[in-house]
Amino acid sequence: MKKMLRSLEVLWIALLIFFLSSLAVQASVLKVSHVSPDHIDIGAFYHGIRLKVTGFVPADSDIVIRFVGVRKDVHLKRKGKVLGLLWMNVDPVTFEMAPNACIVEASSKYGLKMLGLKSLESDIEIETEASVDRERLFLEFLKLKKSEKLYSERVGSVRFEEVDETKKGFSVDLVVPARLTPGKYTLQIFAIRDGQVVDRVEQVIPVKLVGFPAFLASMAFNHGGWYGVLAVVIAIFAGLAMGFIFGGKGGAH
């Protein structure tokens, strides 16, 4: 009896070791070694930036990298035909908790299929009173966001580098668009194999206004009235100054 208990104990321990070791392997499958820059400052001359991400993944897996913006409800109008002839904004549509930006880089087409822009459909609720095909509405939403360059996806920009039989190095330059608003963005890196996410790493990339844009935005949002008056006064003076410059030179009487 005692012997049996003893062997059970051994079995338990063996199982535990096996389980823990497999966990350790799991945890080491995806490793992000470098993200640069790790935050984005929007200064006066900001017009987009390249986010460089490097790390390691298992040799037999693919990788998807996403730069996802702040989630917010987006209120839009659906266009439709009125009187069978004229195109109009007909009824309101809300895309609930849609990220303001989403840039996807994948090492394979299959990666895009799994985690590309279309995969967002599952976590964006579409609110509308109209009886319309939601999937088509979602595709139109993607079109709109793509036209603003806030959503994009592409394959083939991820570079791999062989390390050993078990893992390979990856590096990617993620192009962050010029049309960026401040907030907490998330960098998501997925290692995928056989239609499954085998591991994922997330890192917050804070985006903030600095320098002149920061000053201007705080003026505009916190002291709107004064900001408006100031904008008018400066515009008038600029107009007068230009008038005098030209009036002096030309003398068009």
Partner: protein, 312 residues
């Protein structure tokens, strides 16, 4: 990459090439200087095209027009083209009409289908004004030396003229060389104010034909007075937008302004060189082109079936 042509606009939330903004400002400023229209109906769609959100585009453009019309008004004032008395009366009517118009829009929005009405109003108004101005100037350009047009012009408005002359408080408008009841510019300003508020524009392109055809002011005085009036309308709009919606991007406005003030100065000079009828026919063509563009946007299948709200 080392030298940046881009500037980040914190209110618009986008970076733009400032040379492009200067050029856009210059072209629209030139047109506004020539015709005395604010150019809002041209500038806003152009800004949207280069990636500025519609609400920010419209509000920042108003800010820009303040500067542009200051220099334009000044240029025309020097040339003796501003009828202040008429301008102020139109403005009083316009401000009251604008306030009423905003309420009208609110009611229509609540009833639904306001956008439909706005666009239809646009197409009908632009089409009507453009066609009328075009025909009228064409006639005048063709037959100027003959007596026939003078007679036609003298007989045609008799009913309207009689009505106008029967109004009380007749006043002499020296700059424009006309005599009207003060009720006339106030009433017309009121109507234009309503339309401008509904259409979401400064209203310069409606006001100009109103001054030419209904107030019978000479074209050059019309242009100067219209700019003077637009100046005040846009001061009001800029402050209101900055205060309530935070949509005025001052940096964007300043660059547009730099371009447009230069453009407006040249515009005022070109305006002086062109004859009144030529000016009218060019403005008519411009108005008709915008009308056609608007009509096409109503008729052609849109590329994207969703749109942001708040633009024109």
């Amino acid at each position: 990459m080392s030298m940046s042509w881009y500037l980040y606009l914190p209110i618009a939330g986008n970076a733009v090439n400032f040379v492009l903004i200067l050029a856009l400002g210059g072209i629209v400023g030139l047109l506004s200087g020539i015709f005395g229209v604010g150019g809002g109906f041209l500038m806003t769609p152009l800004l949207i095209m280069i990636g500025i959100p519609p609400t920010v585009a419209a509000a920042s453009d108003s800010n820009q027009i303040v500067g542009a019309s200051t220099s334009g008004t000044l240029a025309h004032f020097r040339l003796g083209n501003v009828d202040f008395k008429m301008g102020i009366l139109l403005l009083i009517g316009g401000v009251v009409g604008g306030t009423v118009g905003v309420q009208v829009i609110k009611v229509l929005r609540a009833l639904g289908n306001a956008d439909f009405l706005i666009k239809i109003t646009y197409v009908v108004m632009l089409g009507f004004i453009g066609t009328y101005m075009f025909q009228d100037s064409l006639k005048a350009l063709r037959k100027r030396p003959e007596v026939v047009t003078v007679e036609a012009a003298a007989t045609k408005p008799s009913r309207y003229a009689r009505l106008v002359q029967s109004l009380p408080w007749q006043v002499e408008f020296v700059r424009s060389g006309v005599r009207h009841s003060i009720l006339l510019p106030i009433g017309l300003g009121f109507l234009v104010g309503i339309l401008a508020a509904i259409m979401g524009v400064g209203g310069g392109f409606i006001m100009v034909p109103v001054m030419v055809y209904l107030l019978r002011m000479p074209m050059h005085v019309v242009v100067g007075t219209s700019l003077f009036q637009i100046l005040f309308t846009c001061i009001d709009v800029t402050i209101m937008q900055a205060y309530t919606n935070h949509t005025v991007d001052f940096v964007l406005a300043l660059f547009l302004l730099l371009g447009s003030t230069v453009g407006a100065q040249f515009g005022a000079r070109i305006s002086r060189r062109l004859k009144g009828e030529q000016l009218k026919i060019f403005l008519a063509i411009l108005v008709l082109l915008v009308m056609v563009k608007m009509l096409l946007s109503l008729l052609l299948t849109p590329k994207i079936m969703l749109a942001y709200t708040g633009g024109h």
